[in-house]
Every structure is written in C-alpha cells, then in structure tokens.
C-alpha cells in the first residue's frame, strides 16, 4: 500500500495540472490558447501551472513567433510521460485495492 501511495505524484495533484498532462499525452503539442480553451482557466492560472510542470521537467515550453504574434507551444517530455503513466497506474491500483 505504501509503495503505491509513493507513486501518486504530488506534481499532478491538481485538476489543472492533471488536465494539462492529459492533453499533452495524446497531442504532440498544444499552444497556450488550446490549453486555455480546453481547461477553461485564466491566463495567469494556466501560466503558473505550466511553469510548475516545467520546473519538474515534465513539459517543454517553446516560445516562438508566428508572424508578429508570439506563440507558446507546450509538449510533454519523456520523463513527464513516464511519470504520468506511473501516476495513472497508481490511481488505478488504489481504486482496485479498496
């Protein structure tokens, strides 16, 4: 039991961070507006959660320009993918246990 709880990842223990990772697991990348629209959050809120995930090195943030407009692209790193899969596994096991 203790083992499983250790696999529950604190970094994903928030609805928005969970959402960001879920989106990036099934999409090669996503830009700021796509994440914002899907998650229904404010700019500042989204920025702070993506920053937190970047600090853990779970996602990659690329800033670029499309024409004159700045565009920020997010993608999941290999480490992020593995951590998220472990997190889902742990959730599933905890539900089965009880």
């Amino acid at each position: 039991m203790l083992n499983i709880i250790q696999n529950i990842n604190k970094a994903f223990d928030h609805r928005i961070r969970l959402g960001i990772m879920s989106i990036l697991m099934v999409n090669e990348n996503a830009d700021f507006n796509m994440l914002k629209e899907l998650l229904g959050v404010t700019d500042g809120n989204l920025a702070s959660h993506t920053k937190a995930l970047e600090l853990e090195k779970y996602i990659l943030i690329e800033k670029q320009f499309i024409g004159k407009k700045p565009n920020t692209k997010y993608s999941a790193t290999k480490a992020g993918r593995n951590a998220f899969i472990a997190h889902i596994d742990a959730l599933e096991k905890l539900i089965k246990k009880s």
């Binding site: 697991m25 899907l38 889902i88 539900i95």
Partner: protein, 207 residues
C-alpha cells in the same frame, strides 16, 4: 472519500484526453438524414437509369444518354451538398449544446484526415468517368468513402470506424458483382448511414 477523488481524477484524465484529440460533437441525426437523402437520390437515379429495363437485365446493355448522365450527376451533387450542410448544421448545434467550440484542433484534424482519402477518390472517379469505366463509379465511391471514414474515425466517435468498414465491404462486393452498383450504393450510403446514424443517435444524443 479518498477513493472517490482518485476515481474523479481518472475520469477527468480520460475526458480531457478524448476532448483534446477527438471531435465528439458529430451528430447521429445528421447521419440518418444523409441516409434518407441517399435513398431518395438512388430512387431518382433508378427511375432515370432503368426507364425501359430493370437492374436484373444485362448491365452492358445500359445506354446512358447525355441528358440522363447530367441528371445523374445533378442528383449525386444534390445528395452530397444536402448531406454536408445537414452534417455541419447538426454538429454545430450539438457542439453549442455541449458548450464546445466547433472549429478547434480536433475538428480540423478530423476534417483533413477525412478529406484526403475522399478527395483522392473524387479525382480517381473523375478520371475513370473520363476513360469511360462507368461501371466502376459506384464501387469506387463506396470504397473511397469507406477508407475516408476509417481514417477519420481516429479523430471522432469510434462508431465511424465500423461505418467505414461496412462501406469498404460493400464496395468490394459491388466491384465483384459489377452492374449492381446502384443497389450497393443505396445499401451503403442509404442503409449504413441510417443504421450507424441511429446507433450514434441513441448512444450519444438522446440523453
């Protein structure tokens, strides 16, 4: 209590994965209507093609005058345009009800992956009409539409995959039983659309 939170988390993950990668506002009702248009179109086409003969007669004797050919193209075009408009209108309505945007990454991806095989088929069919292989037109529409559905199914409701597979089977059968194209065409574009449209309607729309 804790358990409920974990279950919620898992549901949230699944929902977000689907929402961000698949266009789920495809309407079942528009499938049913497209099927009805196709059956009506096939009925008109039958009355033009088999005025003096029947489909069971030798197909090689079928004479296609220029006027009836133009009529057939007009019918096919009307069915196509009506179906597309219906599809768009119903999907926009459904998306609005579910508070989703219609024009997003998921719907763009769906459209492009559907259109590539379909446009390939369109050109192929234009070319074989030009070369006078009329008998292959109906089987080709079924085959290419089936492949387009199969390809698009990865980006929308999974049921579209089975619609595509059914169309492909009918397309192959109608290639084997050449000359009964209109029959298979009505079965595919009419019957299958109504069947899978109803399935989707009862599964997702009626709640």
């Amino acid at each position: 209590m804790e358990n409920e939170k974990y279950l919620n988390d898992l549901n949230e993950i699944k929902q977000m994965m689907n929402k961000s990668s698949r266009f789920i506002s495809l309407s079942g009702m528009s499938g049913i209507l497209a099927g009805i248009y196709a059956l009506l179109g096939a009925g008109f086409a039958y009355s033009i093609l088999y005025q003096n003969t029947s489909i069971t007669a030798d197909y090689k004797n079928l004479v296609l005058t220029e006027i009836s050919a133009i009529k057939l193209v007009a019918i096919a075009f009307a069915v196509l345009v009506l179906s597309i408009i219906t599809g768009f209108v119903f999907s926009i309505n459904k998306a609005k009800k579910q508070n989703e945007s219609v024009w997003n990454i998921a719907s763009k991806r769906l459209l492009i992956n559907f259109l590539i095989p379909l446009a390939t088929g369109g050109f192929f069919i234009l070319f074989i009409i030009e070369k006078d292989f009329m008998v292959l037109v109906a089987p080709s529409t079924l085959l290419f539409y089936g492949l387009a559905c199969l390809n698009a199914s990865k980006y929308t409701l999974g049921d579209v995959r089975y619609l595509g597979l059914s169309m492909i089977v009918l397309g192959l059968l109608s290639t084997w039983f050449l000359g009964y194209g209109l029959l298979f065409w009505a079965l595919g574009f009419g019957g299958c659309h109504i069947l899978y449209g109803s399935l989707m309607y009862f599964k997702y729309d009626r709640k």
